[in-house]
């Protein structure tokens, strides 16, 4: 069964050609690999390919079919795009936030100061809220010109990661 897998900007086409226990023949973007792949008890994929020893640790991200892969040299964000994922994407935006009309924090923290009120006009790049996490304050700015539609938090609120803090109505 072939699927596409996205790594950064690249979308690779992958297929399993054959399998004999832990010896796999796999095609990636037309290149055929013969790999000896074991998932060790401490959760690492040990892959031997042409004698080379690779260690890859996969950490699932919050959304299904999304992973971060840690090799010993670098980390990669990967996403499996199968029929289901393509269907959802084609339906358009459903559950996928464009990010242009909301301000959210990527990590849990605390609201230091909300700088705008509902109904305020804001300019692209204007700081609308200050969030503190791990002893560091970060300023969050409006992504585009617009009007503040909703403010979901107030000063000193504790917030979760990826929570929508402020919603905008964009002005063209």
């Amino acid at each position: 069964m072939a699927v596409e897998i996205k790594v950064g900007e690249r979308v690779a086409w992958v297929d399993l050609i054959s399998q004999d226990e832990n010896i796999l023949e796999i095609e990636v973007d037309g290149k055929v690999y013969n790999v000896d792949l074991m998932h060790t008890a401490d959760g690492t994929f040990s892959i031997l390919e042409g004698g080379r020893s690779h260690n890859i640790e996969l950490v699932p991200r919050d959304e299904p079919k999304k992973y971060t892969a840690y090799t010993l040299y670098q980390s990669y964000d990967l996403e499996v795009i199968d029929a289901e994922a393509r269907y959802l994407m084609n339906r358009g935006g459903n559950g996928f936030d464009s990010g242009e009309n909301t301000i959210s924090s990527p990590m849990p923290g605390k609201v230091v100061k909300v700088l705008v009120n509902e109904g305020d006009k804001v300019k692209e790049g204007e700081t609308v809220i200050i969030i503190s996490a791990m002893k560091m304050e970060s300023e969050y700015k409006a992504p585009k010109d617009g009007i503040v539609k909703k403010v979901n938090v107030k000063n000193d609120d504790t917030i979760d990661g990826n929570q929508i803090l402020i919603e905008l109505e964009l002005t063209e």
Binding site: V7, R10, N22, D42, E57, V59, Y70, T71, K135
Partner: protein
């Protein structure tokens, strides 16, 4: 001389565990305190005893003097070690300990007050004949005064908050017409950050090196220094990588600065472990910057080259013992480097990255030490410092130490949160760093090479294969109609449910 039998550590994280380790070696019982966010933190589990002291925010727990004194009394601890940060440089806390008959492992409240105020500290050093960065001798009271100073010492200058720290209330002035707005901005930031709008002026050193000397002083007037630490690799005005000896140092300068550091400590009747921070310019002029009246984060590199356990010395000094060595007994052997491991994203402006630690592989073997506190499955709290570990290596030469650090960073894996590990590996491969050619602007100046490299196609193919197999495996698990791969090991451990089948 009062023997210390039980120590309360008024801290958390790696430094709490670091201190407890030495206490265990000295057969001293240890008492942990913990906030609501830290019930399952490692320092609670490492200690002999543990007491709850309040809600997660530090001003409701680790900074509340009454609660810590209460825990000390409840446990019968006869000494308190403050670690670094939190109450470690709080004179009121030191005084309170003394009043309650508890040994405070640190200097006297008077010294903490004096060295905590930058202007007082500056004056004390000038009186002791130690050079300070040219500038105003006290806080400035008018803009005219600023222009007078500029006439004397020239531009650029730095405006600094008297009560400051951590880069707050600081403004760089390159041109004369920036003075007025810079002073106002610094004052207002100082007021809101520290509740005190006093500012002073220093000459701005263009290519500064941050070099500090470790001091040890007993209650009997004996003071030694344990050589320097080079701390110029910084991001966001916070240290990131330290090494000793400093590549900038000469034997003559070391002796001179070491003597100055000892003089500085003597000038304020210092007792305990402390650090004199200097700025050094490219012409090897050095200026007193500040004194830290506590243990430093980076103390392990000094321990490694001198062989002295600094926490042990702090305890012995607090008990009233004399130092068991003189300046002549001390020497630096080999080279040591520390990388601070922060839970943050170096490729996104060093933004902190809290969350759950998935898996840790510690670097081990020859010449490697780690001081950390997080464990697999641990949720890093958002309330405290993002530093989760320190990696310290030793080598016979600087070259060997850099190679060893590279190897250790290669072995060190912490997944689940973003860390500074890979970026620090790039520092170890940076030509300027390898040549010892750097100042506090290193990260800015070498931005390009320190950024995340391009994706390697062959390795990313392997990541794609692993992802694909995990995906197929989960798919088949839910369909339950495909022959399983033979497991390498049986599946009682991680993900006993379904992720461990290959």
């Amino acid at each position: 001389m009062s023997k210390i039998k039980k120590v309360l550590i008024a801290n958390r994280g790696e430094i709490a565990i670091r201190i407890m380790r030495t206490c265990r070696e000295l057969d001293i019982e240890t008492v942990a305190v913990y906030s609501e966010a830290d019930r399952t933190s490692l320092h609670v589990r490492y200690a002999h005893e543990a007491y709850y002291i309040g809600k997660a925010p530090s001003n409701e727990s680790y900074l509340v003097i009454d609660k810590i004194i209460d825990a000390a009394k409840k446990s019968g601890a006869n000494a308190i070690h403050p670690g670094y940060g939190f109450l470690s440089e709080n004179a009121e806390f030191a005084e309170r300990c003394t009043k309650e008959g508890i040994i405070f492992i640190g200097p006297s409240p008077e010294v903490i007050v004096k060295m905590g105020d930058k202007i007082q500290a500056r004056e004390a050093m000038m009186n002791a004949g130690i050079s300070v960065v040219p500038g105003t001798e006290g806080k400035i009271s008018s803009e005219e005064e600023v222009f007078k100073v500029i006439e004397e010492i020239g531009l650029p200058i730095m405006i600094k908050a008297s009560a400051g720290g951590g880069g707050k209330g600081m403004r760089l002035v390159q041109e004369a017409d920036e003075v007025v707005s810079a002073v106002r901005a610094a004052r207002s930031e100082a007021l809101s950050s520290f509740g005190d709008d006093s500012v002073y002026i220093e000459k701005y050193i263009t290519s500064p090196h941050h070099i500090e000397f470790q001091i040890l002083a007993d209650q009997h007037g004996n003071v030694v220094h344990l050589f320097e630490r080079e701390c110029s690799i910084q991001r966001r005005h916070q240290k990131m990588i330290e090494e000793t000896p400093s590549p900038l140092m000469t034997p003559e300068l070391r002796e001179e600065m070491g003597k100055a550091a000892v003089e500085a400590a003597r000038a304020v009747n210092y007792v305990g472990a402390g650090t004199i921070e200097f700025l050094v310019d490219n012409n090897l002029n050095y200026y007193f910057l500040e004194m830290n009246t506590r243990l430093q984060v980076e103390h392990p590199i000094t321990e490694r080259v001198t062989g002295v356990d600094l926490v042990k010395q702090q305890i012995r000094v607090a008990e009233g013992e004399k130092l068991s060595f003189t300046q002549n007994d001390l020497s630096q052997r080999g080279h040591s480097i520390e990388c601070r491991i922060y839970a943050e994203d170096p490729d996104n402006n060093f933004m902190p990255s809290a969350g759950k630690v998935y898996k840790i592989s510690e670097p081990l073997g020859l010449g490697v030490r780690t001081d950390g506190y997080v464990y697999e499955g641990y949720e890093i709290p958002i309330y405290y410092d993002p530093m989760i570990s320190k990696l310290i290596v030793w080598g016979k030469s600087r070259d060997e130490a850099i190679r060893r650090m590279r190897r250790a960073l290669y072995e060190y894996k912490i997944t689940g949160v973003k860390t500074s590990i890979k970026m620090e590996e790039r520092v170890m491969n940076n030509k300027n760093f390898i040549e010892g050619n750097y100042d506090t602007h290193f990260i800015d100046k070498n931005k390009e090479q320190l950024m995340k490299p391009e994706i390697d196609k062959d390795i990313s193919d392997m990541a794609i294969i692993a992802t694909f197999i995990d995906y197929l495996d989960k798919l088949d698990n839910s369909k339950n109609n495909r022959k399983e791969f033979s497991p390498a090991q049986s599946s009682w451990k991680k993900g006993a449910c379904n992720i461990n089948r290959f």
